[in-house]
């Protein structure tokens, strides 16, 4: 039997989610997706990130390769122009045709441009696709002033983008208030005040009559009330219209004001054709958010997999940060329900507004509005969604924090309560996941995808997880080992606060027993990060892990490798020759590492001081390849030589490597600096990565290669040198303070409550008031840096240990090398036998 052919029209966010869900269901269908845009699906919700330095690739959700791996046939840049229902096929712009058994329309929507004379001017744009962004950026380059038409959710976000592009920004709204759909009058005027305070002009109640050539600027907007506004460019964000052209053409049922009519099964008036996402009209309503679209996609995929599933509408509550202002809207924000009661709290000084709408008897929450402070959003949303009985005095929920503020513990929620609305993860799902053994935030995220969308649910997810673990008596023992009833973070604070200088002192005051190979290196690293004493000092030497123990990396046969620092990967021919000469003299295997430097293998313990003496004499210093410490800062050649480079990436890499060399941390730290967005230094795979821009540097954090690769997150854009370094200082020190032992920045960030936003608030906004202390600590480390090998060679007491035998000058006779490709390598067991026999 032939496979069923399932054709998806539109490869936006919802179309992509549909593919992903259907592929996961492992039906044996031939799946074909046809997209109008030239590229595979991307994250439209975070489109504006492109203005703060994200590249379009960072937004990608699907890729040609991914679809190929999934066995999905994909066509891009070729819209479907016709559905032939009788023949059950679709025809594309290129003339190609494609037959279907089931057709899924996921064509989304398009921006509404009011039919104002002059709105077709080439300086009038829209804001929906990556291509739109390119056009906006290009126009902004020769503009001083920009106007956004539309004061709704998208309009304000677009306003933010224009401001980021450095334009004098105005928002023009037809209605009397901003965000009229989500906010009531009080919330709306509070928001207006906040936005005006940011220097954005807000013009409400303005009906644009015409757009004509301007005097001071390129354009002039003329309003019905006689007023006018000069601007160089206009972005229309006055609402969306469902993309239902194909439905019209194929004579499917379409709503009065547009939208492809669907039923509970997401079927259109033709039962072989489904519609999902923003093009679909359900119950007379278009759902202009991504989560409801995802639900529709899942409903259709389930049916195609032979299950029953129904779409039953979706909640439209939203929480956003618009122009840096927190805004939340839940349910019936306007209090339109019959005999609803309203409770309003408004604080002009703190510029925050909160309103509750409850049932007439005050027991059920019907809606809420929050502006300026969204900290109550999660709690209120749960009251609303799960119809939980409100406390006797509902207003207490929105009054400023008092000690006895009733907080809705996650424990009170039913198992069906949605915790993550982006990925439709319920409390029950999380509990299931804990039952099957997940014990960390990172694991739960991996297993359920919860909190990997907008991130708004992270705090609640964390609380739930902690509650569940406690409830199960899985007192997740976070003690580092049997010798200390403390986490690494706690030990760090004990050492810092108590000014403890040695492991023995810490053990005496806060631990028991004698220590082990877990706590000793962890404490050694804490001591080093705080006081920076030599790791081989008498009281620290017994604490050091395998490689720190002899300032070199132990290999399988007990010999060592030697890695001198080559900051930024830049090396003079003379120094390069020294490495060659030393390697030849001591017969060391020589290899270029993945970190842009050179590793010399096969050094015996007793040879290490001799080798290092020669290297130090030639001006090398230790590369800390052995330490949980800064490793390398990779560079690309940058603006000095490369025709594309926009900044001197080599100089910056060297500066950073020399600044942080010797810094001990919970795990190794790597970095990279690229001279332009081509990213030849792979900075986005590093713990902190730096990429040059026309205006300075973009800083990325939390990247990782290795076992579980993670792309770094853009942390801040267009920084000057000094700000860049200040942020990195704070970031690294905050990581060192709060991470677990052997936790790279990637895992740390994934588990950090509040995620990257929280990290930004600590590092950039100094929300914990820690910044000065973190910088000071970093300054201490930098000012006390000394090459560990230099100090070791200068101290006979330390050198004593670099002997294979304390009672003999012989070397380890079990270390046997043989030659391969003109260099040495450890002999394998069978070769070793042969060699020994031959020797006899």
């Amino acid at each position: 039997m032939d496979k069923r052919r399932i054709v998806v029209v539109g490869n936006g966010m919802v179309g992509h989610h549909f593919l992903e869900t259907l592929v996961k269901a492992e039906t044996v269908d031939h799946i074909i997706v046809i997209g109008e845009e030239p590229r595979p699906a991307y994250d439209r919700v975070h489109l504006s990130k492109v203005f703060s330095g994200c590249s379009p690739e960072d937004l990608a959700m699907g890729s040609r390769q991914m679809y190929q791996d999934w066995g999905v046939e994909a066509h891009f840049g070729d819209p479907v122009i016709r559905i032939e229902r009788a023949a059950k096929r679709v025809v594309m712009g290129s003339g190609r045709a494609c037959e279907y058994d089931h057709l899924v329309l996921a064509t989304g929507s398009y921006p509404f441009v009011p039919p104002v004379p002059g709105s077709d001017n080439e300086r009038c744009l829209t804001y929906r696709t990556i291509d739109d962004l390119g056009a906006i950026k290009a126009k902004a380059r020769d503009s001083q002033v920009g106007v956004v038409v539309g004061g709704g959710l998208l309009g304000l976000e677009c306003g933010n983008a224009l401001q980021n592009l450095g334009l004098e920004t105005h928002v023009v709204e037809f209605a009397p208030g901003l965000m009229g759909v989500q906010l009531d009058d009080g919330g709306s005027s509070m928001l207006r005040g906040k936005i005006e305070a940011l220097g954005v002009g807000v013009h409400t109640g303005k009906n644009t009559k015409a757009i004509v050539a301007g005097d001071a600027c390129a354009l002039k907007m003329e309003f019905a009330d006689g007023a006018s506004l000069d601007t160089d460019m206009i972005v229309f964000s006055a609402g969306i219209r469902p993309q239902d052209a194909l439905a019209h053409q194929a004579e499917l049922a379409v709503g009065e004001r547009g939208g492809i009519v669907i039923d509970y099964k997401c079927k259109t008036s033709d039962s072989d054709i489904f519609a999902i996402g923003e093009c679909a009209l359900f119950g007379g309503r278009i759902y202009g958010l991504v989560a409801p679209g995802y639900r529709m996609a899942e409903v259709v995929a389930a049916q195609l997999a032979g299950e029953t599933a129904l779409f039953q509408g979706a909640d439209m509550s939203t929480k956003l940060k618009l122009l840096g202002v927190d805004v939340g809207s839940i349910g019936d924000a306007h209090g339109r329900s019959d005999s609803a009661l309203s409770f309003v709290f408004s604080d002009g000084r703190e510029a925050c507004y909160k309103k509750l709408v409850t049932s007439a008897d005050g027991t059920r929450l019907l809606g809420a509005v929050l502006v300026g402070d969204c900290s109550d959003y999660d709690t209120l949303l749960q009251y609303y969604l799960n119809e939980i009985t409100l406390p006797a005095d509902p207003q207490s929920l929105i009054l400023p924090s008092t000690a006895d503020k009733p907080s809705l513990g996650v424990g009170a929620l039913p198992a069906t309560a949605t915790i993550c609305s982006c990925h439709n993860v319920t409390k029950g799902d999380i509990i299931g996941c804990v039952d099957s053994g997940c014990v960390s935030l990172g694991e739960v995220k991996d297993a359920t995808k919860a909190s990997t969308g907008c991130g708004g649910c992270t705090a609640m997810l964390k609380n739930l997880l902690d509650d569940e673990l406690v409830a199960r008596g899985v007192t997740v023992d976070k003690s580092i080992c049997e010798h200390f009833p403390h986490t690494r973070q706690e030990l760090y604070h004990l050492v810092m606060m108590g000014e403890i200088r040695s492991f023995d002192e810490l053990l005496q005051k806060h631990g028991s027993g004698r220590g082990c190979e877990i706590c000793k290196p962890a404490v050694a690293s804490i001591l080093a990060a705080l006081w920076n004493e030599h790791v081989l000092d008498r009281r620290h030497v017994g604490l050091q892990d395998t490689n720190d123990n002899f300032l070199a990396n132990m290999q399988k046969d007990g010999t060592y490798s030697v890695v001198p620092r080559v900051a930024g990967g830049e090396i003079t021919p003379a120094k390069l020759s020294v490495l060659g000469a030393v390697a030849a003299k001591y017969n060391l295997y020589t290899k270029i590492t993945g970190g842009q430097r050179i590793d010399l293998f096969g050094a015996r313990l007793e040879q290490l001081p001799l080798i290092w003496q020669e290297l130090l004499d030639a001006g090398f210093e230790t590369g800390h390849a052995y330490g949980k410490a800064l490793r390398t800062v990779k560079s690309c050649v940058g603006s000095t030589w490369c025709r594309y480079g926009v900044q001197d990436s080599v100089a910056m890499a060297i500066r950073l490597e020399n600044r942080y060399k010797g810094l001990r941390a919970p795990h190794k730290i790597k970095s990279g600096v690229s001279g332009c967005t081509r990213e030849c230094a792979e900075a986005q795979s590093k713990d902190f990565g730096v990429i040059a821009t026309e205006n300075g540097w973009n800083l990325y954090v939390g990247g990782n290669g290795g076992m579980k690769p993670r792309h770094a997150d853009l942390f801040a854009a267009d920084l000057d040198d000094e700000t860049l370094i200040r942020y990195i200082d704070r970031f690294l020190m905050f990581y060192i303070r709060t991470a677990d032992r052997l936790q790279r920045t990637s895992v740390w960030l994934d588990n950090l409550e509040g995620g990257i936003d929280y990290l930004r608030s600590v590092v950039i906004e100094d929300s914990l008031g820690l910044a000065a202390e973190l910088e000071q600590q970093m300054a201490h480390i930098i000012s006390t840096y000394a090459c560990e090998w230099q100090a070791t060679l200068a101290d006979p007491e330390k050198l004593k240990r670099f002997r294979q035998f304390v009672n003999s000058d012989k070397s380890d006779s079990d270390v046997v090398f043989i030659k391969e490709r003109e260099q040495i390598r450890p002999a394998r067991p069978e070769e070793r036998l042969r060699l020994v026999v031959a020797a006899e």
Binding site: H483, G513, T546, R803
Partner: protein, 115 residues
């Protein structure tokens, strides 16, 4: 190598050659012996064969010493298995042992007996 008498003690090094809280290695004939110097413990010095039977390299003297549930151990620097300083048994796999040597500290001089 000629076998040493049971009662024969061989002086191998001075107290000063030892590293407090850690290990060093001495050569006893052609055998490599790891000496761990723990002045606070009842024996002060513990001696095990230096060869890690799991990692198959002569490195035990370079491991971290400590205790696990009260038992004194050294963790191999290669793959971190624990060996009891008193019995030489591997805590992760009790079919694996390293030899244990008798040690004596007289004045400043350290001597070893046969296992």
């Amino acid at each position: 190598m000629t076998a040493l008498e049971r009662s024969a003690w061989v002086t191998v090094c001075k107290r000063d050659d030892l590293v407090e809280g850690g290990g060093v290695c001495v050569l006893l004939g052609s055998e490599q012996v790891a000496l761990f110097y723990l002045p606070a413990e009842s024996c002060e010095i513990y001696a095990l064969g230096n060869r890690d039977p799991i990692g198959k390299a002569n490195v035990l003297s370079r491991g971290i010493v400590g205790d696990l549930a009260g038992q004194l151990v050294v963790a191999s620097p290669l793959y971190k298995q624990h060996f009891s300083l008193e019995s030489g048994t591997c805590l992760e796999d009790d079919s694996v042992h390293v030899p244990v040597y008798a040690v004596r500290l007289e004045g400043d001089s350290v001597s070893l007996g046969r296992p």
